[in-house]
Each structure stands twice: as C-alpha cells, then as structure tokens.
C-alpha cells in the first residue's frame, strides 16, 4: 500500500514539467516557516501565543492561540496567510471546535501588509484571549 502510494507520487512528480518542479522546489524552500517563538499570555499560566514565520519573502506566517491541557498545548484559533491555493496577502483566521479546524473567517480588523497583520493579530489574541479560548 505504502509502496503503491509512493509509486503514484513518483508518477505524479515525473509527469510535471522540469520547470514547474524547480519552481515548486524553490517556492517550498523560500516559504518554509523557519522561525518560531512563544509568549505566555499575561494573567494565566496556561495560555500562550505562538508564531511561526518564514524569513524569506513572500513571508508566510501562522499565529496560534494555545491552551495547555492534560494532553499538551491545544490550538484554539490560528490566524495565517499560508495556503497553497491563495495569495499570501489574504489574512484570515480559523477557530478550532472540539479539535476540528473550522472554515476561514475574516480578521476583525483591517491590516496593511504581512508584518502589520502579524503585530495586530498578536495584540488581538493577547487582549482577547479569555473570549477566544
């Protein structure tokens, strides 16, 4: 089964033109989220904000609001611009209900570019963590 899956993947790769393979490889390398940090939210020991972002442009990021549970850190909401089929200037968030990622929602504020979005998202999560968790 695994072998069949690998074989199908190889055929899929083989059927792509070399230029597209190279372009996809460069895009994957460039957009890799290579930086991560966390910040414990003030006023509690069990909520944190985590971001991951790429250093290279176009910047892809994800900012997560997480709650500590018996199983470890669980994500309650993630805001990002990382989607294979959309432009990186589309910023939105997804809530998690019972561990299931919900459809994308627009952010509740206007943003002007990626870094502005990341800064506003972090402040939004830090200010409203009680309502959002």
């Amino acid at each position: 089964m695994i072998w069949a899956a690998r074989s199908a993947r190889s055929q899929s790769l083989a059927s792509r033109p070399a230029g597209r393979l190279l372009r996809d490889a460069v895009r994957f390398t460039a957009l890799k989220k290579d930086r991560e940090s966390v910040h414990p939210v003030a006023g509690t020991e069990d909520v944190q904000i985590l971001y991951r972002r790429s250093s290279a442009r176009p910047v892809e990021y994800a900012v997560l609001l997480q709650v500590r549970t018996a199983k470890g850190w669980e994500t309650r909401i993630v805001a990002d611009n990382s989607h294979a089929d959309r432009h990186v200037d589309e910023h939105h968030c997804h809530r998690y209900l019972a561990g299931e990622k919900q459809p994308a929602e627009p952010l509740p504020f206007e943003v002007a570019g990626t870094n502005d979005a990341v800064a506003k998202i972090i402040r939004w999560l830090a200010d409203n963590w009680r309502e959002l968790t």
Partner: protein, 125 residues
C-alpha cells in the same frame, strides 16, 4: 476587553511582536519563549515549564536588558542527576535590546531550580 499588564508584561509582549515582525533574523534562538521579568512564583513556574519543554527563554524587563536562558544538551547520566535534584542545566547570557549578547558579560553555565529568577535577579542588578 483589554488585558491589564504590568510594565514588564508590556515589555515582553512588545519584544515578542518586534521579533515576529523583524524581516531579518533578530538573533533570538529559534523557539524562544518571551517571558516578563517579574519576581513572582507564577513567572518562575512559567519559566520552569518552558525550560522543561526544552525551549530557550528570553526574560524581558521594562529596562533595555534581556536575560537569555538556554537549556544545555546533556548526557544521560547528567539528565538523570538533574531529574533527581529537580534542576535544569542552562547557559545564561545578557543582552541589550537590538544588540548581540553583551561581550563584557560572558555567558554563565548554571544549574537552576524552580526559583531561577529569584536567584538570577541580583546578578543582573
């Protein structure tokens, strides 16, 4: 609703945001936890839990000094010893914001317990 924060908590949040929006590598170790520099039992517990996860910690105060605490990789025997004595072996260094680690204060290797900030605060004063 806006959360009320202390000056140290505001400084830690600002440092975290600055690191997140920096296009160049801001020089913090990957995975670092940005923690407000407050001598409270809660801060010590938060620091302890992140160090236990293996995360480096950046302790941020309202002045421009930051304390970097990085867990050091250890052999099996040393890890067992630390588990028994409930401590973590770390490297501690200081830096001014926006600057590389201060060269005149060399990094210090230390075994720290659950009340690390209480012990390290006088060193930074």
């Amino acid at each position: 609703m806006t959360t009320m924060r202390t000056p140290a908590e505001n400084a830690a949040l600002s440092a975290f945001i600055d690191a997140a929006v920096h296009d160049d590598d801001p020089g913090y170790p990957n995975g670092a936890a940005f923690i407000a520099w407050q001598e409270t039992p809660q801060t010590d517990r938060v620091l302890w839990s992140y160090l236990h996860e293996g995360r480096p910690a950046v302790i941020v105060g309202p002045n421009d000094l930051e304390l970097l605490i990085e867990p050091l990789p250890l052999g099996r025997l040393a890890r067992l010893r630390n588990d028994i004595f409930r401590r973590i072996t770390v490297q501690v260094s200081y830096r001014r914001k926006e600057e590389p680690p201060t060269p005149d204060i060399p990094p210090v290797r230390a075994d720290i317990g659950r009340h690390a900030l209480e012990r390290l605060a006088p060193v930074a004063a």
